[in-house]
């Protein structure tokens, strides 16, 4: 694999052709915040927290670093007034749903985001899709998926699959930035296939 040389925050960085700006930055020890990114999963480009400023032939552009391919002589700025503003407003929008998520609260402190800026709508889920994609891409089970669209989008466990697969796995719970995945699973269990817990924890004869 050939390498390209580019600049991130004034630092010369070498990166393998075909990798992303986020990978290049992280390998050089430069931190870019993400909420929907996971090394084991395909880049999703949904949370937009990893947005950075790139400059190609004098033209400035704002792109998500988890998907933007590295290129020779690319200039990347991971912090600027505008980048910070984008991250701050995105955090304020997400804090309306999950005001106490430790990950969001920590980032809010860093970017000066006000968790009371917008009307609260405590759905807890921020729809990062980590559970959905982990279940599909790593486990190959598709026990949880997105339903509905636009502002009505939510995640939902599919009872027929969840009843068979989830009890032994539960791996997505730890990925969730708000603990909503766990709550959604147990709600599905309580509604669609109650009694599972009792059976599983019953002492053997």
């Amino acid at each position: 694999m050939s390498e390209v040389v580019m600049q991130i925050d004034g630092k010369e960085v070498k990166a393998g052709d075909g990798t992303t700006v986020l990978q290049a930055a992280r390998s050089a020890g430069i931190r870019i915040p993400t909420l929907c990114h996971h090394d084991k999963l395909e880049p999703f480009g949904a949370c937009r927290m990893c947005m950075v400023e790139v400059e190609v032939r004098g033209r400035k552009n704002y792109v998500v670093s988890c998907l933007y391919p590295v290129a020779k002589d690319l200039l990347v700025r991971t912090r600027s007034e505008r980048v910070d503003k984008i991250r701050r407003v995105i955090l304020e929008e997400l804090l309306a749903h999950a005001p106490n998520s430790p990950e969001l609260v920590a980032l809010a402190a860093e970017y000066g985001a006000d968790r009371d800026r917008f009307d609260k709508d405590p759905s807890f889920c921020i729809l990062c899709g980590l559970c959905v994609r982990y279940c599909a891409e790593v486990k190959g089970k598709n026990a949880v998926d997105f339903i509905e669209r636009g502002a009505r989008r939510e995640i939902s466990f599919i009872p027929e699959i969840a009843a068979k697969e989830c009890w032994e796995c539960q791996e997505c719970f730890a990925l969730c930035p708000t603990s909503y995945a766990q709550a959604a699973y147990f709600l599905t269990e309580a509604l669609a296939f109650p009694g599972r817990r009792k059976k599983a924890s019953a002492p053997s004869a």
């Binding site: 480009g45 949370c47 407003v89 995105i90 009307d119 669209r149």
Partner: protein
Amino acid sequence: MNRLQSAAELENFRAGILAARDPAKPCFAVCAGAACDGLDSARVASAFEAEVAKLGPGAGVEVRVTGCHGYCEKGPNVVGPHDICYFEVKPEDAPEIVARTVDGEVVERLVYAHPDTGEKAVHMADVPFYKHQTRLLIGDNTRIDPMRIDDYLAVGGYAALAKALFQMTPDQVLDEVKQANLRGRGGGGFPAGQKWETAKNAPGEEKYVIVNAHEGEPGAFMDRALFTGNPHKVLEGLIIGAWAIGSHRGFIYTRHDAPQLIKHIETALAQAEGYGLLGENILGSGFDFRVEVHFDVGIFVSGESSALMRSIEGNPPEPRPKYIRTSVAGIWDKPSNLNNVETWANVPQIISRGADWYKSIGTEGSKGTKLVSLSGNVVNSGVVEVPMGTPLRKIVYDIGGGIPGGKAAKAVHFGGPMGGSIPASLIDAPLDFDELAKLGAPIGAGGLLVMDEDTDMVDVARYFLEFLTNESCGKCVPCREGMRQTLKVLTNITKGKGRSGDIARLEDLSDVTGAACLCALGRTASDPLKSMLRYFRDEYETRIAGGSAVR
């Protein structure tokens, strides 16, 4: 019939169609476009057919059920011999119209009368709604039954395809489109020739061409009028484009809920294939090209190019970031050239009449004519076609007949929920991609909404956002959440619950939504609001400060 095997066979066949038609015999074109259809024009057509049947076959009088004529406000529309226009025709008018026409007379009571002066206009060329237009694309609609390919051949159809296949190389076709500076009519105004060239030069043998017929925003109905009324014009443009790009597989992506359009497209494809104008060895040229029709799942964002391509692949219509253009990596990561209905429809005339002719119409940066769906607080709603560069005033007043009820215009809005509003004081601005984009009301697909002095500009922004909130896919945060919060703020203001800081909240939200969203839907979702805060900021401030639901 046998498939046509050469350009000469096509011309012979066309001559046969024309010879069998007697131009002296009257024909009634009854509009079955969406608006007239809604006014039960099917019964009008039946009444005409019954009346003509009484005359017997020897009379040679014909009835043609056609696509949209354009003047939706005055439907059902009937156009008789010599382009005599009858408006608001009822089934019971048919006997009188047929009888008087046979005698060479005009039914005065059903022709256009000016609402103020009462002055009558009999022929299409004299009716104010039509006479200020240049109807290069939609004008054939009155002469074509969309279910009959022979009607399209009778007006010169597929001659451009024959010219492209037998007199031009693919490179020459591409060059002609580039020279013509045809810009995409779907929203962005991106040069079509440049896009074609990217797809043509992209690596890989397998390439696709696509018609985006997913017209879905409120106030846009021109593509449906054109495609339903004249499907072969679009198809001919697509085949020519495929020849230029080197594609053998095309897709038409449209709405599942437009039954008349679907019927016409499917009939057109079958007839073109039957005639040897589509499929294997087109007109004996050795060029193969097939077209499939795909349908949406009822969500607006599936008209966004990358979402549309995901949908054709069989995946949910979620946009994907286009750091690599779809013309290089689109459907199944193959080079895929997508243009909208109106863009493809422009191609045949560019090939037949040449780039120099095409460039003589329009402005420096925007060539040709543009279809506009005119609606809102305007006397004449309908589908309008004018040269680029036409002042908006001419569209709204001369063609549209001005504002009803003697009211003043307050604003004109272009581009639907992803467009913008400009105040009536800027109504002399030209219809031009770049000029209107600079003013904050980009043409978009061409929906022009006129708003009178009573319009509540906060509610207009709220209405458009409510639409998009339901039509976004919901994948990326700034689109889903930005719109949700913006809608909340605007709804509060309309209810008299505006708070201090609302303007700053709206500006932050629209700024970040515009900069950070994944696809064009999100990035332009805040454009109406931005234009409102640019031109109607006072109204917003007053509403918030007044704290009253009543203006």
